[in-house]
């Protein structure tokens, strides 16, 4: 099975505080991994460290992405290598149109892969096709990036960008937060349609709800900066019923 991501003993800090304290995780092609855990466990830190956010410092460990050392790459190199994060809080960029933003991003990724830039016509055709996949209305691509979008529209826009960039590994950081049930279903449908045997997905979520729609192969519990328990999708259901306290108790004891 093709390895996509290997995390070994990853430790990281933000603002001088150690948050990740030895994370181990392997993700292979075709797999969906869910990472769950209580507030402050380090879920968002993990996604920020993997995508190369400059505010986070790696203290130790190794991360191999598609056979390459991930931690020596800057954020844009990781993205061009096929890593994508759906942001928990997508950023509004007034004055930068969605079309201009996406055309620049798609062509940077294509150049990295040794492919020629898309012509204007080919780009617009791709845009239309992917927009339909996530049921996004055309007016959104004519607006500034995320500006004035509702919470649901922002999340849908993240999945739209994922569809445009065709990443190898997608990290969905709390994609379900702030979504009503209809928006959740559309976002999950988009993710499921984009799933292939060659790509993989890490779903970071606080609640089991999203996992009814995006069914994981593995569920991991992150607690105090470590993955303390792993299982299949039934673990998510158990967490939903019993909460996190029984895990905390068994670890802290």
């Amino acid at each position: 099975m093709q390895k996509i991501l290997e995390i070994k003993d990853l430790r990281a800090s933000v603002s001088g505080k150690e948050i990740l304290r030895g994370v181990n995780l392997n993700v292979n092609a075709g797999e969906i991994h869910a990472i769950m855990g209580p507030n402050g466990a380090g879920k968002s830190t993990l996604s920020n460290v993997l995508t190369g956010h400059p505010a986070y410092t790696v203290l130790g460990g190794e991360v191999t992405f598609r056979g390459k050392d991930l931690l020596t790459m800057n954020a844009e190199e990781r993205a061009r290598e096929g890593m994508f994060m759906s942001f928990q809080y997508p950023v509004e960029i007034p004055g930068v149109s969605m079309v201009n933003f996406m055309r620049t991003a798609v062509n940077e990724v294509r150049r990295h892969r040794g492919e020629p830039a898309l012509s204007a016509g080919a780009f617009l055709k791709l845009l239309k096709q992917k927009r339909e996949l996530v049921e996004m209305r055309s007016e959104f691509t004519n607006r500034s990036v995320n500006e004035g979008f509702s919470g649901g529209e922002k999340k849908r826009n993240e999945i739209f960008q994922m569809a445009m960039l065709e990443p190898v590994l997608s990290i969905l950081d709390e994609t379900d937060s702030g979504l009503d049930i209809d928006a959740l279903r559309i976002v999950a449908d988009g993710v499921n349609k984009l799933r292939t045997a060659d790509n993989a997905c890490i779903v970071i979520t606080h609640y089991q709800r999203l996992l009814d729609y995006i069914v994981p192969d593995f569920v991991h519990v992150l607690y105090e900066g470590r993955i303390v328990m792993s299982g299949d999708k039934s673990l998510a259901l158990e967490l939903e019923q019993r909460g996190y306290d029984w895990i905390k108790d068994s670890i802290d004891r």
């Binding site: 993205a79 061009r80 960029i93 930068v96 201009n100 620049t104 991003a105």
Partner: protein, 224 residues
Amino acid sequence: MERITDNNLIVNIAHGENRDLLLLQDAGSRISPDVVLTIHQAGGSHLRLYVLTMPGCDVNNNIRIEQQGDGCHSELYILGIGTGSQHFGNTTHIEHQGIGGTSREVAKYVLSDSSHGTFYGMLKVLAGAQKTEACQTNRNVLLTTDAAVNTKPELEIYADDVKCSHGATTGQLDEAALFYMRQRGIDTQTARRMLLDAFMADIIDKIPDTSLTEKIREQIAETL
């Protein structure tokens, strides 16, 4: 659009007349360090004035716009780009004397290296100038810790039935937006240029001469 080349000029705009004026200060133009420009607007006249200070120009602009008649409309767009040890400043005075006048002033600075910009903007509404609608905005982006701006937006209102607003903001490029763009594969330099383009667009896009705006964009992209 008329290009202003004098450094000391009074422009009278006749009743109902419509004028577009440009003061472009760049390396190619003969620059005087001090510019004094006074504009008198008669009733019902329209003015659009663009003041563009390009990298390397040490200038002090003193701009006075008087709406002497009723129903005048004035738009003043100021863009200043500072590099190196450049110093530049704009002192503006927009005075509403007539009834029902409107004005809109937008001043934007982008300052890098150890450059320094000043903006003193006075918006004055005289006692008889009822139904005036006026707004003044100053926004500045500092690209380095050594760059600095002094801004003083002022409002003086002597009429009681007017709508006026003003505001000034100074900050850096949005770090969250930069990371968002990089996470999509856009390199830092391109992302910064896109954010600066967006910041300046609402002034540059107003200029009706598109061949000139292309030149200005290129000139800014080369230096920043």
